[in-house]
């Protein structure tokens, strides 16, 4: 039997050692973690325009991703009223750097609708056309789902989409990211109807009905599919005023 003093001393020493090593390691690798996250995000974003920009996102090197991004992508931050924010305004919201890539959608979606700020990426096409890439964020079956939707110069037709998720079931909900056929369906769909009303795009179980606003759901993943429908609707509503101003 050990004395209480020894037990407390031993555990305190051990914990202090473990905490020290881990915190050193965490701070040492923090930059690299951040870089990886940003790079992953950029890769996902370019995935939405890969057909348009003739890229194959899964094959290109990290350095080329950054290079392409810096050369061709313009970053804008807007609010839900459709006003464009200056970098200083964005920093006031607590995002260091003040660029679109610094905005955390998870935090923004928790705020009231009027207070949200939203990242927009604009890709300047070789033909001088502008492609608007919007960030999507929502909830799937198990955890967060997110994605990017790229709109063509008419601010209505989708030119590409890419999705990501945190913990959907592999082979079912996770197909939204793993199966390239799913995001490919979004190409050519429209988010506004003829009267200019925002109708978004529905992920419909049993197959698309409306050729302009429906895509096929993922088989075996009804709840994830519904999550994607909701995510598209709520995220596009955020951008609605900005998109209307653009038109």
């Amino acid at each position: 039997m050990n004395s209480s003093k020894y037990i407390i001393g031993f555990t305190a020493l051990l914990t202090a050692f473990v905490a020290l090593v881990l915190s050193l390691m965490y701070t040492g690798l923090k930059e690299k973690h951040k870089q990886n996250e940003l790079l992953f995000e950029k890769r996902a974003m370019l995935g939405a325009i890969q057909d348009r920009a003739k890229l194959n996102v899964s094959d290109i090197k990290d350095a080329d991703i950054i290079d392409f991004f810096n050369k061709n992508i313009e970053q804008v931050v807007v609010d839900t009223k459709g006003n464009i924010l200056t970098p200083e305004d964005v920093e006031k919201h607590g995002y260091k750097g003040g660029k679109a890539e610094n905005v955390d959608m998870k935090k923004e979606m928790k705020k009231a609708f009027e207070n949200r700020i939203l990242p927009v990426y604009i890709y300047n096409d070789k033909n001088g056309e502008k492609i608007y890439i919007l960030k999507l964020f929502g909830k799937g079956l198990w955890d967060e789902i997110s994605g990017f939707l790229a709109l063509g110069p008419d601010i209505n037709t989708v030119v590409g989409a890419s999705f990501d998720h945190k913990g959907e079931t592999p082979g079912m909900g996770a197909e939204m990211k793993d199966n390239p056929k799913f995001p490919a369906q979004f190409k050519g769909k429209k988010i506004y109807d003829e009267s200019g009303k925002l109708v978004s795009i529905n992920v419909r179980k049993g197959g698309a009905v409306d050729p302009e606003h429906d895509v096929d759901a993922i088989s075996g993943a009804t709840l994830t599919s519904n999550g994607i429908t909701d995510m598209l609707k709520s995220s596009l509503e955020n951008y609605n005023n900005y998109l209307k101003k653009l038109k």
Partner: protein, 235 residues
Amino acid sequence: MSEIKESKKALFPMTKKERKLLFDPLNDNNPVTVQVLGICSALAVTSMLLPSIVMAIAVTFVIAFSNLAISMMRKYIPKQVRMIVQLVIIAFLVTIVELTLKAYSYPVYKQLSVFIGLIITNCIVMGRLEAFAMANPPWQSFLDGIGNGLGYGIILIIISFFRELFGRGTLMSGTPIEMKIIGSSSDFWIDTTTNSWFGWYTNNNLMVLPAAALFLLGMIIWYQRSKNTKLVDIS
């Protein structure tokens, strides 16, 4: 006597006991199929080969080094708090694995997501610490850890091989050496839309679900016991 004999030919001399520690968990005393530990993660991460291999390496690393650390400290650990101390060591190593993967292999980190953290709750790790490292010297504990990690890993890899092949028709998907074996497009080696022999074949969606891992695990246990008479309970 036997020690001298072995040290002549082997690069790493090992006594019979040490060899037993290293290789026993691969078959006779496999932590998954014989002791039936670590089933949860064996079902969860095995839908594809790559995450299974990473998981196997991570678990082997954690068991081996936590065994080593606990064994070195075993005389100083107060008995009243030994479980907590073990958990601190395991959590410490798991966090190291997580931070390293996040920094140097981000896609794999994304894919394994929560399961890396759950190595902490893998009963094989805790089981080896309690059953072995608390009572044995460091080197033997280290070997025992490697052996058990590999015993766990080999089952994971076998299960994920079949699940990925029959569930998706690919192997090593997500790596540069991705092999597309069978499926309904021209990218695959056997294209079921044009191949007259495999026209009936479709990928089995059940294989992607964790339940399939349980069936496969049952079959592995069945096969192992039919071959290894030592495991058959004759009482």
